[in-house]
Symmetry: C2
Subunit: 333 residues, 2 copies
C-alpha cells in the first residue's frame, strides 16, 4: 500500500487529506471522502458519516497511525469500497505534502561510504564513534516539504546541497527493542532529501552540537510511504538526478548499520513513537559534497527509490539578507 | 499568570488537564471544568458546554496556545468566573506533567561561563563558533518529565548529571525576526533540567552530530510556565540544590546571547512555531560537570528560578543492561 497526503480545495481553503496512491492506475483515493461515502451507503446519516470518517482520517498522518491496526484495516475497507468519483483523483497535478508529520525527526549516518567520502574531506578521517553505534542527529520536523514543493534558500548560505536517503516510518511505538523485533515497528519507507547548507553546516558542527541551521530550513519527504510488505527494505536501488542528469546511484544493501539495528538503538532508554521518521543517512556518493558539486537556484533534484517512486523538488531563489548575530569577544579566559 | 498541566483521574483513567496555578492561594484551577461550569451558568446545555470547553482547553498546551490571543482571553474569563469547588484543586499532591508538549525542542549554550567551564575540561578550549552565533542542538520532545516525575537512568550510562536552565516558551509563530521584535513572540518562561548522561554524551559528540543518547532519555520542564508580564526575563536568579544542598547559583543576567537574539536567530530561514520550547543553555556552574560532581540513583534535584518556582525530580534506578550495538570494523580506507 502507498500512503500519502495532499492539499485539496475546500470551503475553508486548502486542507490536508490522507490518500492511498495507486500509481499503476494513475490515481489517488481521498480516504475521508471514500469512507464518508461508504458509511452513507451503509445507512449512516451525513453527520455521523462525517464524524466517523474524520476521526479515522484526520489531517495528520501521525495522528491517523496512532490508532494502531485499526487504521490500516480501515484503509483497506475504504479503498475496497470506492465507487464514487468524488473520492478518486488523477495522479497528475496534485498538491503534495510530506506524507507524514512526524513528532520527531532523527537521521543516522548508516552508510560507511558516505562517512568516508564526507569526513575524509572535512576532518581527514572518520570519527571512530561511527563504528561503535549508529549515531544520529535530530532534524526539524516543522520544515518538511512534499513532492514538488520548492526548497527555500536561506540568507546564510551560498552552498546548497541535496542528500539521497531513505526515511523509515515508525508504525508502532516501542522501547528497548532488540533488532530481531524491530521490523514489526516499521510501517514503511519513504524517500528523504536532507537539504544541506554546507558552509554553515561545517562551521556550526565544529561547536559539537551537530547540524542546525545547516539542515533545519528544509527536509523533503515523499512522494508517499510504501508499506513494508511491498518492498525489500534491505535491497532498494537509490538514484539522484539533478536537472535530469544522474549524479548519484546506490543501494540500501550497503548500509553499515541495518534498519533493525538503527530502530533498536534509537529505542534504547527513550523509545520510538508511532509516526516518527528515521533517516538512513546519505547513501555513498549520494550528495554533492562527495562529488565536488553544488546546487544552484532553479535546479531540479529528483530522488528515485525502487518500490517507492520519485521525489522531485526545485531549488528556490536565495532570500534577501536579514539580521545576523553580532560576533562576541570572549570575556572568560 | 502561571500555566501548567496535571493528570486527573477520569472515567477513562488519568487524563491531562490544563491548569492555572495560584501558588499564593495554594491552589490550581482546572480550566476545562471552570469553563464548563461558566458556560452552564450562561445557559449552555451540558453537551454544548462540554464541546466548547474541550475545544478551548485540549489536553495539549501547544494545541491550546495555537488558538492565538483567544486562548489567554478565555483563560482570564474562565479564572475570573470560578465559583465551583470542582474546578479548584489544592496545590499539594498533584500529578504534574511538563507544562507544555512542544512540537520541537531546541537548546542553546548561551552562558559563556558554562561554555568556558565545560569545553575547557573536555576540549581544552571553547570553539570559536560560540562567539559568532547562538549555537543550539535539538532535544527529544517525546521524553519530557514534569515536576516530581522520576528520571529514568538508561543502561548506557554511569555518569548522570543535571543542567540548570531556563525554558523559553514561544506563544506566537514567526520567521526571520529581528531581536527588537522577538519578545512579542515569547509567552513566558519555565524551568528546564537538561538531564545528561555525560559518558556517552562526550563520546558521541566527537561524531560531530551533537548530543543524542546523552540527552534524549529525559528533559524535565516545569513546574509551570510564568507569563512574561510577571517576571524580568533578563534578570532571574537561578539555583540548583541536590538533596537539599545548594550546588549551583546564577542569573539570566549573565547570558552572552540575549533571549531576543536567540529567538531571532532560530527564526531565521526556518521560523519558530507556537508552543515550541527553547532552552537557554546551562547557567555558569549550573551542572555537575563544571563542579566535578555526579548524581547518584535516588538523588533529588531541585531547580529554583525567581518568579517561577521549584522543579523537583528524583533520579531513578539504573536500567538492567539491554542490547547494545556490535562494533564494526572499517571497510573503506
Amino acid at each position: 500500500m502507498k500512503l500519502g497526503r495532499i492539499l485539496r480545495e475546500s470551503l475553508q481553503g486548502m486542507v490536508p487529506r490522507l490518500v492511498v496512491v495507486q500509481p499503476e492506475q494513475k490515481r489517488v483515493i481521498d480516504l475521508v471522502t471514500a469512507e464518508y461515502n461508504r458509511l452513507i451507503r451503509t445507512g449512516a446519516t451525513a453527520n455521523a458519516a462525517d464524524r466517523l470518517a474524520s476521526a479515522l482520517y484526520p489531517p495528520s498522518m501521525a495522528d491517523a497511525l496512532a490508532a494502531g491496526p485499526t487504521f490500516l484495516t480501515a484503509v483497506t475497507r475504504s479503498v475496497e469500497s470506492v465507487q464514487d468519483e468524488r473520492a478518486l483523483l488523477p495522479l497528475e497535478g496534485l498538491s503534495w505534502l510530506a506524507p507524514i508529520d512526524p513528532p520527531v525527526l532523527r537521521d543516522c549516518l548508516a552508510f560507511e561510504q558516505h562517512l568516508h567520502n564526507s569526513f575524509t574531506k572535512v576532518l581527514g578521517k572518520v570519527p571512530e564513534q561511527y563504528y561503535q553505534m549508529p549515531l544520529y542527529y535530530k532534524g526539524n520536523p516543522l520544515t518538511l516539504l512534499g513532492n514538488e514543493q520548492e526548497v527555500p534558500w536561506p540568507d546564510y548560505t551560498q552552498k546548497m546541497d541535496y542528500e539521497l536517503e531513505l526515511g523509515f516510518v515508525i508504525g508502532r511505538s516501542g522501547k528497548d527493542l532488540a533488532p530481531k523485533n524491530a521490523l514489526a515497528h516499521l510501517l514503511g519507507v519513504t524517500i528523504l532529501n536532507d537539504f544541506s547548507a554546507r558552509d554553515i553546516q561545517v562551521h556550526e558542527m565544529q561547536g559539537l552540537l551537530g547540524p542546525a541551521k545547516g539542515k533545519d530550513f528544509a527536509t523533503a519527504l515523499g512522494p508517499w510511504i510504501t508499506t513494508l510488505d511491498e518492498l525489500d527494505v534491505h535491497n532498494l536501488a537509490m538514484v539522484a538526478r539533478v536537472n535530469g542528469e544522474e549524479w548519484s546511484r546506490g543501494s540500501s544493501a550497503t548500509m553499515m548499520w541495518s534498519v533493525e539495528e538503527i530502530v533498536a538503538y534509537i529505542s534504547k532508554g527513550e523509545g520510538i513513537q508511532v509516526g516518527e521518521v528515521i533517516g538512513s543517512g546519505t547513501v555513498g556518493f549520494g550528495c554533492g559534497l562527495e562529488l565536488g558539486k553544488l546546487l544552484q537556484p532553479g535546479d531540479v533534484v529528483e530522488l528515485e527509490v525502487e518500490g517507492i517512486g520519485i521525489l522531485r523538488n526545485r531549488i528556490g531563489t536565495p532570500a534577501t539578507q536579514g539580521w545576523m548575530p553580532i560576533k562576541r569577544t570572549p570575556a572568560t579566559t
